[in-house]
């Protein structure tokens, strides 16, 4: 098996939910299982399991739910997890804006110029 791990759950932005079905029957994982498998987000899973969040019932959490919670509405909507920032929706911000800084001002718009004529920075 070239894909050794059992979890393949992802979410993409824009409020679009995806893919619990990638691994049918394996959406939930317990805190103990997460620790046993040394999953990188085991702490988060256990935190959510302890709080009863994650839709997995007592003692369980779900990568899927965790992921979808993160993206629902662009911000984390659940409890017991780490808050994440909403997607920014501001204008181009090619202006100076005030704020706490060592110099008392922040300049913006200094990146992006070289790529302005290109459709993509990817390759």
């Amino acid at each position: 098996m070239r894909r050794p791990l059992v979890i393949a759950l992802v979410l993409m932005g824009g409020g679009v939910v995806m893919a619990g079905a990638l691994m049918p029957g394996r959406p939930r994982i317990s805190c103990d299982e997460a620790r046993a498998q040394s999953l990188p987000n085991a702490d988060e899973i256990c935190l959510r399991a302890a709080s009863g969040a994650g839709g997995g019932g007592s003692g369980h959490s779900s990568w899927l739910f965790w992921s979808s919670s993160i993206y629902r509405g662009g911000s984390y909507a659940g409890s017991g997890g780490t808050a994440v920032a909403a997607n920014t929706s501001g204008s181009a911000s090619k202006v100076s804006s005030g704020g706490p800084s060592s110099s008392g001002s922040v300049s913006r718009g200094g990146f992006g110029g070289a790529g302005a004529s290109a459709s993509s920075g990817g390759s």
Partner: protein, 369 residues
């Protein structure tokens, strides 16, 4: 290695949409193409995996050589930014991902065409979309695809702060989708992952800051190093305490001058093609590529030439091997390296022998041994 014409799933568009795959079609044309699939044997997958790992070893040795001997000339990298690049290598700043583009027809050794080591895309479709396709279309088959799990596992090993900012240009659905996906993997690894567009990054006189004027200690950028350093804020990069992903030393590998350096250091290596900065030395037909070109622009090859804005920085000339042509489509294998190891492949096809941003992504499978 065999191409099969297959019947697409009738609901593939809805599935793509449900997966958040916003660029399954680009400009009204299919980008994700499941009217065909490539079948490999387990032995062929082993060959691709071994070649990719070997090439990664060669590339890292070439970077070490370039830094030690200050070979920025062959790479087309200005003196003024070399200290920044060399410093990031000497500090062993970790790389998250890269994609090697390989020529292969299933016989003999795969050959490195180039290494997209700084801002590779075609990631989400390789990691997730083709896997979901496999579970529907060929559930009893396997796929060389551990990309998603490897990305999640890699984030904690990068040695960066828990808060990571993600950024890219505006107006590219593909770039934003790629960044969103990587941001997702970072979150699943426990990171606090924030997004802002590249032009929203601020400079407060001593550090880069986000829209809340919070310090940007670690930044994933889908924005090439050569652009970043050329921008108005470029001079601030060296004095800011920000960790960048990919790190600055990846510019050495993303310069196509690396192809000439690799051939100089490892002449005759079975996974390399002859390549030189000067034309006419490869001993046969050559393809000319700009050192910092992107998405197939400004390429000259026998019978093919593409337009674009690149080339002022110079070119590299590589022995020309036409991509395998099957059913009227030229196929290119993108081999993913995550945290330094081969973790999967994605295949793109085009009616032209030069792969471009409009080339179609075609899934693959293999039968486990």
């Amino acid at each position: 290695m065999q191409r099969h014409a297959i019947t697409p799933r009738p609901d593939w568009r809805a599935r793509a949409r449900d997966l958040g795959f916003a660029f399954a079609e680009i400009a009204g044309e299919p980008y994700w193409d499941e009217t065909a699939a490539w079948e490999f044997t387990a032995g062929e997958i082993d060959a691709l995996e071994e070649a990719t790992n070997e090439l990664e070893r060669l590339c890292r040795a070439a970077v070490a050589h370039a830094v030690q001997h200050k070979r920025n000339d062959i790479l087309g990298i200005p003196d003024a930014v070399w200290a920044l690049i060399a410093g990031s290598w000497q500090r062993q700043e970790a790389s998250l991902y890269g994609r090697m583009d390989l020529w292969w027809d299933g016989r003999g050794p795969p050959k490195l065409l180039e290494y997209n080591a700084d801002t590779p895309t075609a990631l989400y479709e390789a990691a997730v979309i083709q896997w979901e396709w496999l579970t529907c279309a060929f559930p009893d088959m396997d796929q060389f695809n551990g990309i998603h799990e490897a990305l999640i596992a890699a984030w904690p090993r990068l040695g960066i702060p828990k808060r990571v900012h993600f950024t890219c240009q505006r107006d590219s659905t593909e770039d934003k989708g790629t960044v969103d996906y990587l941001r997702d993997t970072a979150m699943q690894a426990g990171a606090e992952a924030r997004f802002l567009y590249i032009d929203e990054i601020g400079w407060d006189g001593g550090k880069f800051v986000d829209l809340e004027n919070q310090a940007m200690q670690a930044v994933f950028k889908l924005y090439p190093w050569e652009w970043l350093l050329r921008d108005a804020f470029g001079n601030n990069v060296a004095r800011a305490p920000t960790r960048w992903i990919e790190p600055a030393w990846r510019l050495i590998l993303s310069s196509k001058g690396i192809l000439a350096l690799l051939w100089e250091l490892f002449p005759g290596h079975p996974n390399l093609l002859p390549a030189f900065r000067e034309p006419g030395r490869c001993g046969g037909a050559e393809i000319r590529k700009p050192l910092f070109g992107r998405e197939g622009a400004n390429i000259s090859a026998p019978g093919a030439e593409t337009p674009g804005p690149y080339g002022e920085e110079g070119f590299v000339n590589q022995q020309y091997l036409e991509l395998p042509l099957v059913d009227g489509r030229y196929a290119l294998i993108g081999s993913w390296v995550i945290d330094g190891e081969a973790k999967g492949i994605g295949i793109r096809e085009d009616a032209s022998p030069i792969t471009r941003d409009t080339s179609r992504f075609v899934p693959h499978f293999f039968k486990s041994a």
